[in-house]
């Protein structure tokens, strides 16, 4: 058919203009809304962006665990959020009960205090990572491995069961108790504000109006996350175990034929994902200093949404999705209302899935053995 013969309606249908116009209207409304707020008060807007980055990096660490496990065993590991909670509690006990963060200062009094604090904080994070890795490997060994060949729904129900167990076992009075517990940071918080240059904010002082505040929590979160992400990238891309992981994700039976220890690789994947979640737990608890047994549910879910948004199974996708999620959550909490942020997060997810059904970086779905 010639293009001249088409009516206006037919041309609209052929060019998918109705749907495009619908989306454009929606995007315009959002930009209008957020842009108007940003012009009204630029400092508040930048403050939100900074908070969003802080949250986004934490989500990225959790999302990586979801995405790696899903890529390899096609299991939505609902217990991952509770592993994150476990990591936060381990660091809480390490800091409050055993004062682990003070060991460099106590053993080497001649050390400069800054280096002592950095090493102490890093050792707390490392302890959380190791304990989370052990927990995840135990879970994998007990609950998921026997179900490797069962229908996928059995593994999913098991994952939900493990998640319930970790939560409610944690809520028992002699374990973590069902109450909110104030978290003690392993380092002193230092705050700066940005207005005509960077100034240090003294404790208890008010920042001048129109300034953007950030603290060393933000710096630590960004540095630790980037360190871990670079490390993960190195492991996945450059080492033998990373190659084995990619091979297993691609085709399990063939990798077994190639002499890869598939069970070992799956176990390692769980351990790596969980250790990232453990680090995220410590960072989250330092940023929002409270721990409670159900604290893993919502961040876990958000991170999972981030992983899906970026294309589940894709590592850069999880990172990008998490940053988007962090921004969306903070902006909707700041400008619409705090409880609405969950709804906004999921509305974004559904909209993205409408346009790209397998997420931003996702490959088209294909059947896996």
């Amino acid at each position: 058919m010639n293009d001249e013969q088409l009516t206006v309606l037919q041309r609209m249908i052929k060019g998918k203009w109705i749907g495009k116009g619908f989306l454009a209207l929606l995007a315009l409304a959002i930009i209008w809304w957020v842009g108007g707020k940003a012009i009204q008060s630029p400092s508040l807007f930048f403050q939100q962006i900074i908070n969003g980055i802080q949250l986004g990096f934490v989500y990225a660490l959790i999302a990586l665990g979801y995405t790696m496990v899903y890529g390899i065993v096609r299991l939505i590991n609902f217990a991952h959020g509770d592993v994150f909670m476990f990591g936060a509690f381990v660091s809480f006990f390490a800091v409050s009960l055993f004062q682990l963060h003070l060991w460099p200062v106590q053993t080497f009094p001649s050390l400069p205090p800054l280096i002592g604090i950095v090493i102490g904080t890093l050792s707390v994070i490392a302890l959380s990572m190791v304990s989370c890795a052990i927990l995840a490997m135990t879970i994998e060994r007990i609950a998921y491995k026997p179900l490797r060949d069962a229908p996928r729904i059995s593994a999913l129900i098991t994952a939900i069961g493990v998640s319930f167990f970790l939560e409610y076992f944690g809520a028992l009075p002699f374990v973590f108790t069902p109450n909110f517990i104030t978290y003690k940071r392993p380092f002193e918080i230092v705050t700066w504000y940005v207005k005509d240059g960077i100034h240090r904010l003294e404790a208890g002082a008010e920042a001048p109006p129109g300034s953007v505040i950030f603290s060393n929590v933000l710096i630590i979160i960004i540095l630790v996350s980037i360190l871990l992400l670079v490390g993960l990238n190195y492991v996945v891309r450059r080492t033998k175990i990373g190659k084995a992981m990619r091979a297993t994700a691609y085709d399990k039976p063939t990798s077994r034929l190639m002499g890869i220890n598939v069970d070992g690789v799956i176990s390692t994947t769980f351990a790596i994902g969980a250790s990232l979640a453990g680090a995220a737990g410590v960072l989250y608890a330092t940023a929002y200093p409270q721990v409670v047994f159900w604290m893993g549910i919502i961040p876990g879910l958000k991170a999972f949404v981030a992983a899906v948004l970026g294309g589940i199974g894709s590592i850069p996708g999880a990172f990008v999705g998490a940053l988007i999620m962090g921004q969306a959550e903070v902006i909707s909490a700041g400008y619409i209302s705090t409880p609405m942020r969950d709804a906004v997060a999921f509305t974004i997810l559904i909209l993205v899935l409408l346009i790209r059904p397998t997420g931003i970086f996702g490959e088209p779905e294909r059947e896996k053995a």
Binding site: I76, T158, I160, G161, D342, A343, F346, I350
Partner: protein, 423 residues
């Protein structure tokens, strides 16, 4: 009509159990606590049967059942609340006309979309949204006009009768509203791959819960009271009402699944490509199963709202949306009998027996025991309690193999069997 002996037995046992419970309740032997648990068991059966239709029979991994349950519950509760507390039929008439007109709009837009060849799904969805918004607006305006005459007409009836009528209509309308929302939501989402579909529906449940948290400010329903919880709903749901609905749902599902339509639904689960090759419209079957399952969820929601007379958004938290999924898997995917047994077991054991049997101070252990039980169950019996087993009446009756009776028929069969193959 000849009735099978086993079918007769099934009905006698089922109706006998329902009447027995009612007699025990009337005599006061069964305490209100247990009566409520039985009602919740029946309500959960209906929700889970809906999910079993979507997931067990049609193979769509949906976590949105709880969201539709919430929609049905709040819609029905709002109708009866306005009738009893505000003494007018405003909720009933507006909901009735909105549901009616949105249904008409959906039908008309569907006709229009099928005419417009080559329309991409997103544009079609935009058309649906526009149609539904216009229909809902007109529905609200028309419904407001009809409030006064209907209120007067209903007030002329005895108060108890009019309440029962409003309640019945409210429950049904809640179900239809949930079905319409699910149709609209399913349009874009049902085309996603299985896990993405599950996540999108989980997102739906969370969005509904957040909207209910802000129902008084954002949605403008003062009486729903947002996160404080809705009180003052009449407690109309009796055991006989839930039992009646449960029986109707069982009959409907059984007849549906034993028809050619039901076999088409099941074939989509077994193999989509093969089903397509057999001439089955896969998209249509998926939409049908999803909408019908959500209708059942909305219906159950309406029943649930009138059990305790109290609704709180936390009841519709997404964590609880795993409950129907657990019940369905526990009872056995694709088994009606298993789902019902599992739902009653779940309600009675988790809320009833465990509360009583566990020693004082150990109530918190309930949810430690429950996941452990789930784990053991999944490890030992992954196909669920009943597997594919069904009670006699619910079992699919396959045609009996042909048995020749007379000598003449026998020789015919032999002739057919001995005929040379290949021509």
């Amino acid at each position: 009509m000849k009735i099978d002996r086993q079918t007769l037995g099934f009905w006698i046992v089922l109706l006998g159990l329902i009447i027995l419970v009612q007699v025990l309740v009337s005599l006061g032997i069964l305490s209100p606590f247990w009566e409520t648990l039985l009602k919740i068991g029946a309500v959960m059966s209906i929700v889970s049967l809906g999910l079993n239709l979507i997931y067990g029979f049609n193979g769509q991994f949906s976590l949105g059942q709880w969201g539709f349950y919430a929609i049905g519950a709040y819609a029905a509760a709002d109708v009866t609340y306005r009738w009893t507390q505000m003494k007018n039929a405003s909720g009933l008439m507006i909901l009735l006309l909105v549901v009616l007109l949105v249904g008409v709009a959906l039908y008309l837009v569907a006709r229009l979309v099928s005419r417009l060849r080559g329309l991409d799904p997103l544009s079609a969805f935009a058309l649906y949204i526009i149609g539904v918004l216009i229909a809902a607006y007109i529905g609200v305006q028309l419904g407001s006009l009809l409030i006064n005459p209907v209120t007067q007409a209903l007030s002329a009836l005895p108060p108890n009768l009019s309440l029962q009528i409003v309640y019945l209509l409210a429950v049904l309308l809640g179900g239809f509203l949930a079905a319409e929302v699910s149709y609209l939501f399913g349009l874009p989402v049902l085309t996603l791959g299985s896990d993405y579909f599950g996540i999108a529906t989980l997102g739906f449940t969370i969005i509904v819960k957040v909207l209910l948290d802000n129902s008084d400010t954002l949605l403008g329903f003062e009486e729903m009271k947002g996160a404080r919880g809705m009180v003052g709903i009449p407690k109309v749901t009796s055991w006989l009402w839930v039992a009646l609905f449960l029986v109707l749902v069982i009959i409907m599902l059984r007849n549906l699944l034993h028809s050619s339509h039901g076999r088409a639904i099941i074939s989509v689960r077994e193999d989509e490509i093969a089903a397509k090759a057999m001439g089955i419209d896969v998209g249509q079957q998926k939409t049908f199963a999803f909408v019908l399952g959500s209708f059942l969820a909305g219906l159950a929601g309406g029943l649930y709202a009138h059990i305790n007379g109290f609704l709180h958004p936390n009841t519709f938290n997404f964590i609880k949306s795993f409950d129907p999924m657990i019940i369905v898997v526990f009872g056995g995917l694709g088994s009606i009998s298993g789902t019902i047994m599992a739902a009653f077991t779940w309600a009675l054991v988790l809320e009833g027996f465990l509360r009583i049997l566990l020693p004082a101070g150990f109530e918190t252990w309930r949810f430690v025991v429950y996941p452990l039980f789930l784990l053991v169950m999944m490890l030992l019996r992954p196909q669920g309690l009943f597997g594919g087993f069904e009670f006699p009446y619910l079992r699919q009756v396959l045609p009996k193999p042909y048995t020749p009776k007379t000598q003449e028929q026998l020789s015919l069969v032999h002739a057919v069997e001995e005929a040379p193959e290949g021509d």
